[in-house]
């Protein structure tokens, strides 16, 4: 069997890759994993919602010491995607403070994580600068 799997369930692959959040139908708070009740309003009803694929880099760090198997340095950050904050790496950009700035505009991009014994490729995501 070959093909692709997303690194995480909230990444939707295909022709139009995007992230999917669980949105509280009461207050609109968004979560990337499941909630028994909304952390903001305690509502218990959620719907799947597409998260915008472009945004602004609110915060970043350039990590030089990381878990085994993670190439360094890499840029980790928080992206404001139209009011929904997303945690992700900044990719397709040199990992240095001359190229990475808070406030820069970025867009979602996919990136391969690796291929398993069955030939299945895992695909992750990051955000790349909009030049």
């Amino acid at each position: 069997m070959s093909g692709q799997v997303p690194l995480v369930e909230y990444l939707e692959l295909g022709d139009d890759p995007h992230l999917v959040a669980n949105e509280c139908t009461e207050c609109g708070a968004r979560f990337f994993d499941r909630r028994n009740a909304c952390a903001s309003c305690f509502g218990t009803s959620f719907k799947k919602t597409r998260v915008e694929t472009t945004g602004e880099l609110r915060a970043f760090t350039i990590v030089s010491f990381a878990a085994p198997g993670i190439p360094t340095p890499f840029v980790a950050g928080v992206i404001d995607c139209g009011g929904t904050s997303v945690r992700a790496n900044v990719i397709n950009c040199p990992p240095d403070p001359e190229h990475v700035k808070v406030g820069m505009k970025v867009r979602l991009a996919t990136a391969p994580v690796g291929t398993d014994d069955n030939g299945t490729e895992a695909v992750g995501f990051g955000f790349e600068p909009i030049s």
Binding site: L7, T61, A67
Partner: protein
Amino acid sequence: MAKDDVWILGIYMTKFGKHPDEDTVDLAAEAATAALKDAGVTMRDMGVLAAGNLMGAAAGIGQQLQKQIGQTGIPVYNVANACATGATALRTAIMSVKAGEADMGLAVGVEKLAGAGLLSGGTRKAEGNTWTPHGRYGAVAPVDGRIGTETMPGVFAQVGMEYLHDHPYDGEPFQLFARISEKNHAHSTLNPLAAYQKKMTVEEIMNDVMIAFPNTRPMCSANCDGAAAAVVVSGERLKSLSKEQQQRAVKVRASILTSDPWQEACQILPDVNTLTRMAAEQAYEQAGVGPEDLDLVELHDCFATAELVHYDNLMLCKPGDAVSLFESGATWRDGKIPVNVSGGLESKGHPIAATGIANVWEIATHLRGEAGDRQIEGAKIGLAHVIGLGSACGVHILEKPAA
């Protein structure tokens, strides 16, 4: 000495650093017996014991300590609250006294972390040779490093950088944060209990090993061993003690613990701001003082990037003005509002569960006029702050002993 006041009767911190020949129980015992001696009381006087040792949270450090220094059958609360564990132990003892269940209590925090290396969040090992979804995100591989970072230096680096996004800064962020670290390392040279007492130039700090931009190694809290302990007493009981005990007792004007309320991004990047601001507001209200009344502050500089945001969160400056406050020199030991005259976590060290009591010890020692070379002259009111990710925030405001 009003009936429902709570006072610190005795307090102690061990030397922070490497203690290869002492285990956690030895260190906790050293701090606890010294705090009891400082208070002029014994284990027989204690009505409650609250204790924390985060890395050994399942072992029950409170009972281990009792077996080492005195078992009297009193209630023991073993607490764990990340880096706020020590403050939580202290707050637990204070609550017990406030509730009238005990008129004297002991709080202890201890950690052995020397050589622990980089602390990160919930990483998990890769397993098997086929992609299989695991956990709450259905992740087929570890997400730390692939979807942002869970390492502490990286998380707090983003906290500092986010502040400079929300409050635009024209200068060089790396150098700004390095100068905050320079201050704390300079302060540490006067603190014989600090793990590191080495003055460092901004250039030395910036050229040291980069951990997570903009935090280099000396801008990160130092993993080390240490313990701290405090004896608290009710105002009523204090009245029955000696003049000498009364004259060294430090009044607890406020004792607050908060957790993080929901904010839009708080499950993406920990929000260390809102709960700190809440704790500060509640503490100032409880104490009946404002930030302008503080003579010194010990705040949770787990990384240089964190110190900046807490100037604002603790309302030491107007909202958004943390950089100007620092640039004015106000937070140096000879400034308007000295911050981290102990050297802070970056040089004093951060033995996790000890930190929240050690910060209170630093403040109490200045208020007693017993801080030696680093004494802030005439200090009357001080504030101690800690943050534990997850999150928990402890704030204590203390007042000088009555003359």
